[in-house]
């Protein structure tokens, strides 16, 4: 039963992922990306990672993609009028070669890799509690450094926006 659900969700995730790339209109790409996020959230649920699934929907589908849509709607109100310029033969060749190379490296790398199983959470703790415990003990430094990184990004965005106004 679980395996069927997993393959259904994985299929949706793959198909929607491909559709994201092959849409001509950026808004449709964004919508297929949302479908993809839902499928991935479903896979998290199957792995009993309810917290990650909920955060995936709140943060990615609910906040980041709304900002994406906001920007797409502001910048690109109509369907694109002209066809995109056709790529040169050299560009095509380079693109296909690079893609094949990346695919080879990924497949080869993962076929050799041994992924260790994660440790089971201590009994009696839900996964929200276990994540919180890990964040504030073992991973405290990376957690705090991430907040500094985000602060730098915010300051950078404000400086860029303000310098244009003057």
């Amino acid at each position: 039963m679980m395996a069927y659900i997993f393959f259904a969700l994985a299929g949706i995730a793959l198909i929607s992922g491909v559709l994201v790339v092959f849409q001509t209109h950026p808004l449709r790409s964004a919508l297929w990306l949302i479908v993809n996020f839902f499928a991935v959230a479903g896979i998290y649920l199957l792995a009993h990672a309810e917290f990650i699934a909920a955060i995936q929907i709140i943060v990615y589908a609910g906040a980041i993609m709304v900002l994406f849509l906001f920007v797409i709607m502001l910048l690109n109100l109509r369907q694109p009028e002209e066809e995109a310029a056709r790529p040169w033969f050299g560009q095509k060749l380079a693109g296909i070669t690079l893609a094949a190379l990346v695919a080879f490296i990924l497949v080869y790398g993962f076929s050799k890799a041994e992924v260790p199983l994660a440790k089971a959470a201590p009994p009696g703790l839900g996964n929200t509690e276990s994540i919180a415990r890990l964040l504030f003990t073992d991973y405290l430094l990376p957690f705090e450094v991430t907040s500094v990184l985000l602060l730098v990004a915010i300051v950078g965005a404000v400086v860029l926006a303000k310098s244009k106004l003057k």
Binding site: L27, L31, I34, E50, F51, A53, A54, I55, I57, I58, A61, G62, A63, V66, L67, L69, F70, M73, L74, L77, G126, N127, T128
Partner: protein, 341 residues
């Protein structure tokens, strides 16, 4: 209990809750018209049935038989999808809100067969007690914005698009304040499950320990429901009706149902988080829950009848520069007090 019976019984339970919720939505519309009439010194609907009590039925028949007009230049798929998204995401959060202690007795006998309802928590007064219940509610709330944004974009009309854009900016801004203002409650309850949060308020409602959190959450909930004074997305004098401008008949009705379901769900959530949920003496739990929820629904209508609308820059100022710092302060003070005690 075998799986098909379990599924059937769960479906019956969900159906009961959904039908009650839909009826409440219809009567909230009537309640709003009555209360607004009272505030503005007029009667409100009083022609259909005694005190206008059958008005929702008349409205429903009217909406069903109206012409369902789709303007020619719209994006058809998204134009149809948008009202469905709004209505569905508005109803789904109710799945995790506990409305009573028990809904059914632990065992029932149908046609001589006895079913043990404690199997999947079927007798509990909540459809699904999941351990990330509050996050689930927020996830559904954050998805609600797509209905309006996609509806506004698909309508291919300037007023609709502006309404949709305003809503997306407003929702993203106030979601932060909404999320941060409940952290205090979570610290007190020590759980994200709404059932556990209600149980933690057995002795004292959380509004007593979290007055600032309550005010912030209430304000952010008004903004998330896009109600007055935050209803810039459909302010008539600027945008006709915002993202709903091009909609008619049942598609428009789905938007309206979504709006009123949002009000009920927001009130039910505030009741659960701050006012002790179904807890209360003497009267049965479901009565307490309904009473508290509809007292808050009344507040929503009261505010609509008495407050003017914000300007958009005032809305952003309030969200980012007032409510967000206050919510952070609330978390720090709550944490400090909990460490000291």
């Amino acid at each position: 209990m075998n799986l098909p019976v379990l599924i059937a019984l769960s479906a019956i339970k969900i159906l009961i809750v959904l039908v009650v919720l839909l009826t409440l939505v219809a009567y909230t519309v009537l309640m709003e018209r009555k209360v607004l009439g009272f505030i503005q010194l007029r009667y409100g609907p009083n022609r259909v049935g005694p005190w206008g009590l059958l008005q929702p039925l008349a409205d429903l028949v009217k909406l069903l038989f109206k012409e369902d007009f789709t303007p020619p230049m719209v994006n058809k798929v998204l134009f149809v999808m948008a009202p469905i998204i709004t209505a569905v995401t508005a109803f789904l959060p109710f799945a995790v809100i506990p409305f009573a202690k028990d809904m059914f007795p632990p065992q029932i006998t149908i046609y001589g067969q006895t079913f043990d309802l404690t199997a999947a928590g079927l007798n509990q007064g909540v459809i699904a007690d999941i351990n990330v219940g509050l996050l689930y509610v927020f996830a559904m709330g954050s998805l609600a914005v797509y209905g309006a944004v996609l509806g506004g974009w698909a309508s291919n009309s300037k007023y609709s698009l502006l309404g949709g854009l305003r809503l997306s900016a407003q929702m993203v801004s106030y979601e932060l304040a909404l999320g941060l203002s409940v952290i205090g409650v979570l610290m007190l309850a020590g759980s994200l499950s709404l059932v556990k949060i209600v149980e933690a308020q057995k002795d004292m409602w959380f509004i007593v320990y979290q007055p600032l959190g309550f005010v912030l959450f209430l304000t952010a909930a008004f903004a998330e429901c896009a109600r007055t004074p935050f209803d810039l997305i459909e302010c008539e004098n600027e945008l006709v009706a915002g993202y709903q401008t091009e909609y008619s008949s049942m598609k428009w009705a789905l938007f309206m149902m979504g709006e009123y379901a949002h009000i009920i769900v927001a009130s039910a959530l505030i009741t659960t988080l701050f006012l002790g949920g179904w807890q209360g003496p003497i009267l049965p739990p479901v009565v307490w829950f309904m009473g508290k929820t509809f007292a808050l629904v009344f507040c929503f209508i009261w505010v609509r009848g008495t407050f003017p609308r914000f300007r958009f820059d005032q809305l952003m100022y309030l969200g980012w520069k007032v409510m967000l710092p206050l919510a952070l302060l609330n978390i720090m003070v709550t944490g400090a007090v909990m460490l000291l005690i």
